[in-house]
Subunit: 145 residues, 2 copies
DNA sequence: ATGCTTATTGCAAATCATTTGCATTTATTA
DNA sequence: TAATAAATGCAAATGATTTGCAATAAGCAT
């Protein structure tokens, strides 16, 4: 996903591109492979512009969520982390438990076997999520030292 | 999972079996196939004993979580739902988006293909979750009316 | 470029689920 | 039955998220 695409989608919705919003979008674009908490997003934005308010970040997160452009993962009961959602093609992720990096993988567990199993049980499948958690190679190296 | 097993595990940990705790455990046992919020668990307990306090429910949830006996699913940013965890054998779930029923399915997405894909990417896999969301047959019938 | 309309922002205050402190109660054991 | 330590209930604290509202500023029309 590129910045200009995001901006265009927002403009189509009559949303205005303020400095703060632009900074927020840039931050998401520049960290597309990382899950970030509200706090982390805010801090990154504030590196460029100290005036960005947490409330504004919350509101922009809400906006992108409502447009289905944001992936939200409940890291634990107390923490939600976000990243831009990629609709280019269906895929799943492997998530580094240490640094939060998300690597898309071209593998889908929805085999014919599984689909027929679900039909058998009378379920009408609507969606599915497969999340793999591990330690990325970078973090493995760091941990070895 | 049966009530007596739960009770025994708690006794082994020097936990005391109070009326409130017993009620909490019974509620989980009697609803093993449903995800329930704190509020729902509390209400169910209070049907039997009005004196059960929400704080007590929170503390007992924390206890079972710390013993890895409780499955917690973040339904949305504002809601966590719980159910007893079944360690009998490895499996995943299909969850009814309407009533919260969880049906265990004997299918695991960790194919050799996937495992080698992850090795290739340098990831050290620690855990994984596969959740399938759909509408159960009961809820389908209700929705048709 | 200028002014108008209305979305967006920042701040302070409100909210609300969850957690904590502490005195009281109660299960368990010797 | 008494001693002990765990568990409970209540009220208050916490802390992330949300909301109200006045001030600001983006984007459009002129």
């Amino acid at each position: 996903m590129e910045l200009k695409d995001l901006v265009e989608q927002l403009k189509n919705k009559k949303c205005r591109i303020t400095d703060q919003r632009m900074l927020f979008l840039e931050t998401l674009i520049n960290n597309q492979s990382s899950l970030m908490t509200v706090e982390e997003i805010t801090e990154l934005c504030q590196k460029t512009n100290k005036a960005v308010n947490t409330t504004t970040i919350y509101r922009n997160i809400e906006l992108l969520e409502s447009m289905d452009l944001l992936y939200a993962l409940n890291v634990d009961r107390h923490t939600v982390a976000y990243k831009l959602l990629c609709h280019d093609h269906h895929h799943h992720h492997i998530i580094c438990s240490n640094c939060g990096e998300m690597l898309p993988i071209d593998y889908c567990p929805l085999t014919p076997e599984l689909v027929s199993l679900l039909k058998e049980k009378g379920y009408d499948l609507k969606s599915h999520s497969l999340d793999l958690y591990g330690i990325c190679s970078k973090c493995q190296q760091i941990q070895e030292h």
